[in-house]
């Protein structure tokens, strides 16, 4: 029976419309996966040597202190990103399968999930080094390791149990942030109480049994709830909330563009996928910290300042903008047959990005703390984003042809879609060009000349706006039929 499930899953993966499309994309995804794995392994090895050689501390003890944060962060990440194991369960319900079988397969699938495997790439090299370099007893390391694996899987099933308990998870995240803050400012150190437990996994021969029991317990509980809820009106029901009609009349002053702006704002407010993208774009605001604090040595070159500026002010533009017009994919035929001029549609998207860039720039004023030059980089980045990148993003959008399922967070990250050659090429003017311009100004004359060049490029973008829009409009028009066709291909 499992054979059937596996073959169904196999087919649904390989026959997904978006996957069969491009070899490029597969290569790219493979590259990303390798990159992640490499980073994790590197982190494991690096952490060991950093703690041992640089800080002259016991690596195991230090890691054990932070494991509590790791564990909770893992749970929160899973809650946000890992999808529920709902393989196409509906059609299976009335077939002669036992419900237990269906659920165990669905759960079995999650065991192999990326979210579980990824930890191994950090902890395995780390453990190997513990034994090889630190002369730790193999058995103890092994038991510690089993304990951690059990914790990972406890999270895996806990996440299934917690599905749709938003408030609870917000509370957990809130407590964690508060505890982290208290720890950082040295008021109260939670790790003092949790580290002994993790250390105990290593020191004693029996403590590992606790996480194992927890994992099994969560498995059984999740299993029971899942089997019990295997009804169309229970676990498989799509949730609907009562909602209010909104008119957002204050936007009417923008004229015809407002019609679309209002829609886009509702789109962001009411759809899970769009919301998470906006949250990600808010995270970009903090990206600059890596550059301006000198935390990462590789980023100390002057050219990286402008790179940071582009990202800090353009988080929304990069994360939300890159999927224009796919946000409208589920009703694209409506848009294309309504009384809409392409120009108006595009310019509303443009305004949305410009407004978001403007807001990000204001929010980023915190960078003034690092000196007004840091903030200048953000402002210059913003000018370039509004003038050039907003156009480039729209242009690239004409080639984005993967439909977006607004209601689910599925593949919200590392979505395969935009990785075709054309969109890839178009990231060059987005990021590389301002860096080159800055470098020219910086090395030929002075840093300010660099900023000036980048800002001028942005202003030039404004000046040629009409021309650029004409061109983009033409591209959208020629791509229209292919886009409509592609958006019809549901997964």
């Amino acid at each position: 029976m499992f054979k059937h499930f596996v073959s169904l899953q196999w087919k649904s993966f390989w026959r997904a419309a978006s996957l069969s499309s491009g070899l490029w994309m597969k290569i790219f995804m493979g590259f990303w996966a390798l990159y992640f794995i490499g980073m994790m392994a590197f982190g494991g090895v690096g952490a060991f040597f950093l703690i041992k050689k640089e800080l002259c501390l016991d690596p195991l003890e230090v890691i054990n202190r932070f494991l509590i944060y790791w564990w909770v962060a893992d749970l929160i990440f899973r809650y946000a990103l890992q999808k529920m194991p709902v393989i196409n369960i509906k059609p299976l319900l009335i077939l002669p399968f036992r419900k237990n079988k269906i659920v165990s397969f669905a759960f079995g699938k999650t065991i192999l999930s990326f979210f579980n495997i990824i930890h191994g790439f950090f902890f395995v090299p780390f453990s190997v080094l513990l034994v090889a370099e630190g002369n730790a007893p193999v058995l103890n390391v092994l038991l510690w390791h089993i304990g951690l694996i059990a914790l990972v899987y406890a999270n895996n099933f806990l996440n299934i149990l917690l599905n749709n308990k938003d408030n609870l998870i917000y509370a957990v995240a809130g407590i964690m942030i508060v505890l982290g803050g208290l720890h950082y400012f040295e008021y109260f150190d939670i790790t003092r109480y949790t580290a002994p437990f993790f250390q105990g996994l290593y020191d004693t021969k029996f403590l590992f049994i606790i996480p194992v029991i927890a994992a099994v317990l969560f498995y059984v509980m999740a299993f029971r709830t899942f089997v019990k809820d295997l009804y169309l009106d229970a676990g498989l029901a799509t949730k609907s909330k009562t909602v209010k009609t909104e008119n957002l009349e204050w936007l009417d002053r923008f004229g015809k563009t407002a019609t679309f702006l209002k829609n886009d704002i509702k789109l962001i407010k009411r759809n899970k996928r769009a919301r998470s993208t906006v949250i990600v774009s808010a995270l970009f605001l903090f990206y600059g910290l890596l550059f301006f604090t000198g935390a990462v040595e590789a980023y100390d070159g002057p050219v990286w300042k402008i790179f940071a500026g582009i990202f800090v002010s353009g988080g929304f533009l990069m994360s939300f903008g890159q999927f224009v017009p796919s946000w409208d994919s589920s009703y694209y035929p409506l848009m294309m047959s309504q009384n809409i001029k392409y120009r108006e549609y595009l310019s509303s998207k443009w305004w949305l990005m410009v407004m978001a860039t403007f807001i990000s720039t204001i929010l980023a004023s915190g960078y003034l703390y690092f000196g007004w030059e840091a903030y200048l980089a953000v402002i210059v980045g913003a000018v370039y984003n509004m003038g050039m990148n907003a156009h480039v993003v729209l242009w690239a959008g004409a080639y984005v042809k993967t439909p977006i399922d607004l209601t689910s967070n599925k593949k919200a990250f590392g979505d395969k879609q935009s990785f075709n050659v054309k969109t890839l090429m178009l990231t060059l003017p987005k990021l590389a060009l301002p860096m080159i311009l800055y470098a020219i100004g910086h090395y030929a004359y002075s840093p300010y000349a660099g900023y000036l060049l980048v800002a001028l490029a942005g202003i030039a973008g404004f000046a040629f706006r009409n021309m650029v829009f004409d061109k983009i409009e033409r591209i959208y028009r020629t791509e229209k039929y292919a886009t409509i066709w592609a958006y019809k291909q549901k997964k």
């Binding site: 799509t238 829609n263 509702k266 589920s330 009703y331 309504q338 392409y342 039929y481």
Partner: protein
């Protein structure tokens, strides 16, 4: 009003639509019937410039649909759920369409008031997004949205499917009223021969993409259609 000229549509060597000439005069109420795969939706999509025909062209009020967008202001359609915006409430959706078609809120409200019967209290004030409505109610919202802004050409693909009997009867009345207006051209496709003979003055039968019958509706039409499909 609408002229179809030498249209063919071929997918990978497979011709799904092949119409040499079809003229739909202004004020007509035009019914399209045919089995699955006959090309009904393909024809309607081509009328709306949503797919590009392999050869030939379509004119709407003398405008080639693939070359200019001017026809969009007088044309409206409801083909399938891709014409709905799932995350809006029905009211928001109607006002949105209204704004696109140059109608203010009062205009839209006035129009909606006429369809109170048709909505049967299941569309307005529901506190639900369109994506959470049932298929039938989604269809009601889509059909009424296609009537906003006094369009001269109205295209409805399978409007009767998924509707309950009461609503089907009300919809027939609505389409008949629209058809009575000499300025409005209604294009309807259906699998239900009785409905379509009742509301359309002219019925075209498509089979494998070709026009096999073109009838002015009369007493005998239903019988003729039944015979045709009972082969």
């Amino acid at each position: 009003m609408i002229g179809v000229h030498n249209i063919t549509k071929t997918y990978a060597g497979n011709t799904v639509l092949n119409i040499e000439h079809l003229e739909i005069p202004k004020g007509d109420s035009f019914g399209l019937v045919g089995n699955n795969g006959a090309g009904k939706t393909t024809l309607f999509s081509a009328l709306l410039d949503l797919i590009r025909p392999t050869t030939g062209y379509i004119e709407n009020s003398g405008i080639k649909v693939s070359e200019s967008e001017e026809w969009k202001s007088i044309t409206s359609a409801f083909i399938d759920e891709t014409f709905l915006i799932g995350y809006l409430t029905a009211e928001e959706y109607f006002y949105f369409i209204g704004e696109l078609r140059g109608q203010n809120k009062a205009d839209v409200d006035a129009l909606l008031a006429q369809f109170e019967d048709f909505f049967h209290g299941e569309i307005l004030g529901q506190k639900k997004y369109l994506r959470d409505l049932s298929k039938g109610n989604q269809k009601k919202a889509g059909i009424v949205a296609a009537l906003i802004g006094n369009p001269e050409v109205i295209i409805l693909d399978e409007p009767f499917a998924n509707l309950d009997p009461t609503t089907q009867i009300r919809l027939k009345k609505i389409i008949k009223e629209l058809a009575a207006d000499p300025n409005v051209t209604v294009l309807v496709s259906s699998h239900d021969l009785i409905h379509v003979t009742e509301v359309c003055q002219r019925i075209v039968v498509l089979d494998k993409g070709e026009v096999v019958k073109d009838l002015a509706t009369s007493e005998e039409t239903l019988k003729e259609l039944e015979e045709h499909f009972n082969k």
